[in-house]
């Protein structure tokens, strides 16, 4: 085969090799993505046969004056903030424990990681049982008055309940990221500091914290994005309930954004508004990612 023919042949092989993943990606992500941007500016009702009318930014002005959407945004933000803090604290504590000299540390490590292998839907049902039956049952038999009613019955405690489940599910995973970082800290450095007379706190502050800082950035953004997208546990644990009050309107107290988007489209049958909410949701995530890229760039400069 001459050179020209070989080059052409190579190009054909390249195209054939790239085609399967690229086709699937375009069909499933790229085309629906642009369709979605367009639909958010129309009166689309989910059907494709009907005529679709362009309505400009009307859906956005509707959702920006929708109290339920405001509330969803707020409660998702509160949940995300609480989740990021709790998960990172728990994960860091667990990581310190399983990297110390205690017996069976590898066994504990696997145990803490296990909840992460199971889907949020299934876990949500398990925890629903715990909050509705097991904890009140236990409280009654022990005579603890304050815990006999379910946490899921009140908005604020239901939110706390989702934080508990979210953290329980995710902390073991983030723990592994911290474990990897801590294990990268050279033992010789810690030993040298110890010989020089640095106590535990000093060693933690001067050596461990700076060297674990990159893992902290990774974990923060990871938990931030994942908490913001929370859907499965939200559906199976509370399904948005109970009902609550916000700005004089009745709202679903734990309806996070992903669930609000889903319900707007399918339960309340407003596809275009649901799509507009999804576009806003997307833009928020883009901003978070840009901030993350900025942080990573900054870190590279420092190193």
């Amino acid at each position: 085969m001459n050179n020209q023919g070989m080059k052409q042949n190579n190009r054909l092989v390249n195209a054939l090799f790239l085609a399967p993943s690229l086709t699937a990606f375009i069909l499933v992500v790229i085309i629906p993505f642009f369709m979605g941007l367009y639909f958010s500016l129309t009166d689309w009702n989910g059907a494709i046969q009907d005529k679709i009318n362009f309505v400009g930014l009307k859906n956005f002005s509707v959702i920006f004056s929708d109290v339920k959407f405001h509330y969803s945004f707020l409660v998702t933000t509160v949940y995300t903030a609480a989740n990021v803090i709790v998960i990172n604290l728990v994960a860091l504590t667990l990581a310190m424990m399983v990297t110390s000299n205690i017996k069976f540390r590898n066994f504990y490590r696997s145990g803490f990681f296990t909840p992460n292998l199971i889907g949020g839907i299934v876990l949500g049902y398990v925890w629903q049982f715990i909050f509705v039956n097991a904890i009140p049952g236990f409280a009654e038999s022990m005579g603890i008055e304050s815990l006999t009613s379910s946490l899921l019955g009140k908005g604020s405690t239901a939110l706390a309940a989702i934080v508990i489940v979210g953290s329980w599910q995710y902390a073991g995973y983030i723990m592994m990221i911290y474990v990897a970082a801590i294990q990268n800290v050279p033992v010789s450095l810690l030993e040298a500091a110890q010989i020089d007379g640095a106590n535990f706190l000093q060693r933690t502050r001067a050596i461990l914290v700076p060297l674990v800082a990159p893992a902290f950035t990774v974990s923060t953004f990871l938990t931030l994005v994942n908490s913001f997208k929370q859907f499965d546990v939200n559906v199976s644990l509370t399904n948005g309930g109970p009902s609550g009050q916000f700005a004089g309107k009745v709202v679903k107290a734990t309806e996070f954004l992903a669930l609000n988007i889903y319900n707007t489209a399918f339960t309340r049958n407003r596809m275009a508004e649901g799509q507009a909410k999804a576009v806003v949701f997307f833009l928020v995530l883009v901003i978070v990612s840009l901030i993350q890229v900025y942080f990573n760039k900054k870190k590279e400069v420092e190193m």
């Binding site: 390249n14 499933v28 992500v29 292998l117 199971i118 049902y125």
Partner: protein, 285 residues
């Protein structure tokens, strides 16, 4: 006892307590899967009076037409294995081409895959369903409520991260290896399948694990593509249907959750190291 040993002892006790707290939900599931409905209401935290009930409950779940455990389990297996093999293989092929052909087009395509990682599922899910319906209208290929539609969706959504990770790994493979093979008369496909693919094994395992946990547990995508109560159901869908359609029969619900968790936990026991490494690597990228 020296203060150092005392510290270690305190740490050990604290860890054990936290460990028990972490394992409590699993314990609750197992204990209550071995009770009947009445016993759960009467005593939701104690040990079951008769462990034989566990077998009765499992039998009910397996045979009950309301939960469809066995068909859903089989569908989950089919969807997961086919999606994983196809995601990993197509992404490896695509990633290799994108590393080795240094053109503007290939850079653009790679950037598109990377940028798409920011796109949340929520923003594409409604149009995706409409688009699949449209495809059926024009080509008569059914994608909704079918295996091919489900698997196509997983390849599409899985491709971004997978190609990105393969790309990163393949960049580190010396080109000389492939050049030598070309001189020896290997064709491009031969080079990929006989030389590159074997080198990719570790990253292949990582990709399969990362996507495997996601696909096996996924709820929203199957809900939209397969629908509730359709012919094909995955395990999370089946469990959700079962819970949603009845007054809370906790004995059976908990047994069904236990049986949905079991495959992942068993797999974890055998492949702990790979699973942990795979998932952590995937996050840091």
């Amino acid at each position: 006892m020296s203060p150092r040993r005392l510290n270690l002892l305190i740490l050990e006790i604290l860890t054990i307590i936290l460990f028990i707290v972490f394992m409590m939900p699993f314990l609750m599931v197992v204990l209550n899967s071995a009770k009947d409905a009445k016993e759960i209401i009467a005593d939701p935290i104690g040990f079951p009076s008769n462990w034989g009930t566990l077998l009765t409950n499992v039998k009910t779940i397996v045979t009950s037409p309301n939960i469809n455990y066995v068909p859903s389990f089989i569908s989950s297996i089919i969807i997961t294995t086919l999606s994983l093999s196809l995601i990993a293989l197509t992404a490896a092929m695509g990633g290799w081409v994108l590393v080795r052909s240094k053109t503007k087009t290939s850079t653009f395509i790679f950037m598109m895959f990377v940028a798409a990682m920011v796109i949340p599922f929520q923003v594409v899910m409604f149009p995706l369903v409409a688009f699949f319906r449209m495809i059926r209208e024009f080509t008569h290929i059914p994608l909704l409520q079918t295996y091919q539609g489900m698997i196509l969706a997983y390849i599409g959504f899985g491709s971004s991260l997978s190609i990105f990770m393969f790309h990163g790994f393949i960049k580190g493979i010396p080109l000389e290896l492939e050049e030598a093979a070309t001189i020896d008369g290997c064709t491009r496909p031969q080079i990929f399948f006989q030389i590159v693919l074997p080198i990719l094994k570790p990253i292949f395992v990582t990709i399969v694990i990362l996507n495997g946990i996601w696909v096996w547990n996924d709820y929203l995508l199957p809900l939209l593509i397969l629908g509730t109560g359709g012919d094909i159901q995955t395990l999370p869908l089946a469990v959700a249907n079962f819970v949603g359609s009845y007054v809370k029969k906790w004995d059976l619900i908990l047994t069904s959750t236990m049986m949905a968790m079991l495959p992942a936990i068993i797999l974890f026991i055998f492949a702990q190291k790979q699973i942990v490494r795979g998932m952590v690597e995937g996050s840091i990228k």
